[in-house]
Symmetry: C2
Subunit: 352 residues, 2 copies
């Protein structure tokens, strides 16, 4: 077994004392790394990379070799589930994800079935391999998209500016929307549990599009299903920490914290001090440097890292991260500067 | 002079008692109306329509003929100021606004000057004409984009997904960013005062992109400049109500309310009950039906109008509106249903 007892990341998630703030980066295995681009080229395309456990393992480990990060995150994509449901996922160059067979009729919704987890075995194979290959002292994070976010992509057929189709479903066919979300919640729950069985040490739910909803609809169509998933995980694996991240969800932190999750991912539009005042006794907080800061100078990066650390303040329960995924145009040196600044500036907040 | 003393809209802005909740619609003169599309065709394109006072007047009045709305809003665009600054605004079909000469160097920023208001006289001509032609009992709303929002478009060269260029300016050239914003704030202030002189009875500042900022940067780069503008207006026209709208600004309502504005525009991601608890004694609230509701059935529209009215609750200080601009695919009948529902359902919240 791996020795994870001293993991700063897992300790911070449990709000236990640490000597410095742990740090990892959303999309840390990604296009900003030249070695990632090389491996991806070898794989052919993004989806082939996700589906090849050896290469997925390789890119997962790449950022750990460069930077003293406190966790790895399984290299994969949130849309593996819809792909396993037969929606024919592909990535058009420069356009983001698309589905060959989007879900755009009530019939299509009713034909959707919870995929057999064996259709996603490549993900669990990658998780097992990564867990075996990575440093035994570091935790591996598994993840999935939220049911609402997956439904957005499935119904829109890809990214969207206005989310017309899915909102039309919400307002005009709410029962069908709930049928779809229910199947997605079961799928996501089974998927995350399979990842845990394959060796991941914490899981994160990415709710990229929860923030486009009204407060009422957020509770009914997004948070409600994430809560079901959390209960499902906790009933089987009470000790596996769950991180919940709704981009644009800053107004709903109290409700998010009440789901039984262990930590909230906080985007860059929230102030950590304020967030901690609101929910700090219930959950740990992960975030929240503005990703755009990484396009600036080393000095500016250091200053803003300092601001994020100071806004959380002293004590346990903070995991440093960006407020959203790292962008492809960031220089690896800037990431090094960010991680170094966390190492250097955070111990003062953990003196006992 | 026009008899505006009984205007429900102006009374609600001042939080005085009304017999029912006033209602208008962001982008009420717009593509969802067949008569608008006809007039626009006559003008040639969108910008020519903005620059033709007679036709701008015509489209401003069109929604008032169809629906019993409580205010008109000057037909124009937030990007008239950058256009007057020489950035060569145009609208590429289906792509939104673009600038032929975006501001993408420090030299370009320093070359920008506050435009002579005569370069925008077509807007004031339209305002005067509309004020003359419209019902004397209804108020006319003037508007402008916030300095931050204008800067986003000017530096990005148009709409953006990631706002890389403007954020790079913020993080790497903050003095230049402030120089640009300062010139924009002076321009917007003069522009709104010119609109008031031309006869508008209230003004609204649209901060479409304030919500992409960190809390700190929102205060420094967006709210700060809007506050300057409000002070400028109030020192000359203390009785002209000012409405402040930051899309995605739900976390900062307290700070927005403290600027000295009269009302806050509230987007659909906020709950009006909650917003009122936070700032209700300082300002009126305008909003906030999810625009996507208008793509649903009349019954569903009525139900959601009822929810918005009930979330604000009893008493003065609510102006009904959408949480964002109306979209081109809405049926005029759906707008009629929304307005009728406000007329029918709101009086119960104003019994004395």
């Amino acid at each position: 077994m791996y020795d994870l007892n001293q993991s700063l990341f897992l300790r911070a998630l449990r709000r236990l004392p640490v000597e410095r703030t742990p740090v990892w980066i959303m999309r840390q295995a990604g296009r900003y790394l030249p070695e990632y681009r090389k491996t991806r080229e070898k794989a052919g395309d993004f989806l082939s990379l996700c589906k090849n456990p050896e290469l997925a393992c390789e890119v997962t480990l790449q950022p750990l070799r460069r930077f003293p990060l406190d966790a790895a995150i399984l290299f994969s994509d949130i849309l593996t589930i819809p792909d396993a449901m037969g929606l024919d996922l592909y990535f058009a160059e420069g356009e983001g994800p698309r589905f060959g067979k989007p879900v755009q009729t009530l019939e299509a919704i009713d034909k959707i079935t919870v995929p057999d987890i064996s259709a996603l075995s490549y993900v669990m194979d990658a998780a097992r391999l990564i867990r075996q290959e990575m440093p035994s002292t570091l935790p591996l994070i598994g993840f999935a998209g939220s049911p609402w976010t997956l439904a957005c992509y499935m119904v829109e057929g890809g990214s969207s500016r206005d989310f017309k189709r899915i909102l039309n479903l919400v307002y005009s066919e709410d029962k069908a929307a709930h049928r779809l979300l229910n199947k997605l919640a079961i799928s996501v729950g089974e998927y995350l549990i399979a990842q845990i069985k394959a060796g991941v040490n914490a899981v994160m739910i990415f709710d990229t599009w929860g923030g486009i909803l009204t407060p009422c609809n957020y509770m009914d169509y997004s948070l409600n299903y994430m809560q079901h998933i959390i209960h499902q995980i906790k009933s089987e694996y009470p000790d596996i920490p769950v991180i919940l991240f709704t981009k644009g969800g800053g107004q709903w932190l109290e409700q998010m914290a009440a789901t039984g999750c262990d930590a909230l991912g906080i985007d860059w539009t929230c102030d950590l001090y304020n967030a901690r005042q609101r929910v700090g006794n219930q959950v740990a907080l992960q975030g929240n440097l503005d990703p755009a800061v990484l396009l600036s100078t080393g000095e500016c990066i250091r200053q803003h890292v300092g601001q994020v650390l100071s806004s959380f303040g002293s004590g346990a329960g903070h995991i440093f991260n960006l407020g959203h995924g790292i962008t492809p145009d960031v220089a690896p040196e800037s990431v090094a500067a960010m991680v170094a600044a966390v190492h250097e500036l955070s111990p003062q907040y953990h003196l006992r």
